[in-house]
């Protein structure tokens, strides 16, 4: 169903051979996504870099953005790097407006995003 959030976790090899965790979101990112999004976040290691894949997400509201900020908050504590890809141009604008771009690079696609980590 469109309204449900599914988060899958993945691992890819970065440019320097180091492993990158990828969280892939599907559906909506809203207040009902908390368990799915933060639950998946807890399963990834606390030291390697993390990619957030929004290419299958259609709707993100301010409660969903708050969840993303919570991940950035935890990443900031441990010094983990986070990069984002797959946002529509509209949500790239929105993420920039709220300042997320300052803490996580916003990229067009997975290879471009992975290359920055």
């Amino acid at each position: 169903m469109q309204a449900e959030t599914k988060t899958t976790t993945d691992r890819i090899a970065g440019a320097n051979g180091a492993s990158i965790s990828v969280l892939r979101f599907t559906g909506d990112i809203s207040s009902t996504s908390k368990d799915s999004v933060l639950g998946a976040w807890q399963t990834v290691g606390r030291n390697g870099p993390v990619l957030l894949d929004f290419s299958k997400v259609e709707y993100i509201n301010s409660s969903g953005i708050a969840l993303i900020i919570q991940m950035l908050m935890e990443a900031d504590k441990t010094g983990q790097k986070v990069a984002i890809f797959g946002l529509t141009p509209h949500f790239q604008k929105v993420f920039t407006m709220v300042g997320i771009a300052k803490y996580a690079g916003l990229h067009k696609d997975e290879p471009t995003a992975a290359a920055t980590l």
Partner: protein, 147 residues
């Protein structure tokens, strides 16, 4: 194309989170009928969604006996959207979100709805109408180029 000037469309939604998406669908259709470009329709959808979420959550406090009204009025050059709830309105405009404070845990990660609304539309105004009504009024203009 369809003449839309002077027309108004009204929607009533239940005060349940998720139904903001119905208001988004209706607002997008009216804006498309008026000839707004796709990027501007996306801006409107997000602003209307945030206004409805606030009306559902803060204004009507998730009381499903109350409904949220969305009134879309088209004129020659602009689309006005009023999102009406039965609450007492906002006490005062919250400060703009500060991402540094949020990321460092010094500020609630939430509290971005009103900021986004103001950033995305050409006019935004919060009105406490009567003892039983508050609304936010949004305007997007047709002639304004979207940056």
């Amino acid at each position: 194309m369809t003449k839309t000037t002077g027309t108004s469309v009204e929607v009533r939604l239940p005060s349940r989170l998720g139904f903001e998406k119905v208001a988004m669908g209706t607002a997008a259709s009216v804006a498309a009928l008026m000839g707004f470009p796709p990027e501007r329709i996306e801006d409107l959808k997000t602003a209307v969604a945030e206004a409805c979420i606030n009306a559902i959550e803060h204004g009507n406090q998730l009381n499903e006996k109350l409904s949220v009204g969305v009134i879309l009025s088209a004129s020659d050059h602009e689309l006005e959207v009023k999102v009406v709830d039965n609450g007492a309105g906002i006490a005062k405009q919250p400060p703009a979100p500060d991402i540094d404070r949020k990321v460092h845990g010094e500020e609630d990660p939430r509290g971005m709805g009103m900021f986004l609304i103001q950033a995305l539309v050409d006019e935004a105004e919060w009105v406490h109408d009567s003892s039983t009504n508050s609304y936010v009024r949004l305007v997007i203009r047709l002639d304004k180029e979207n940056e």
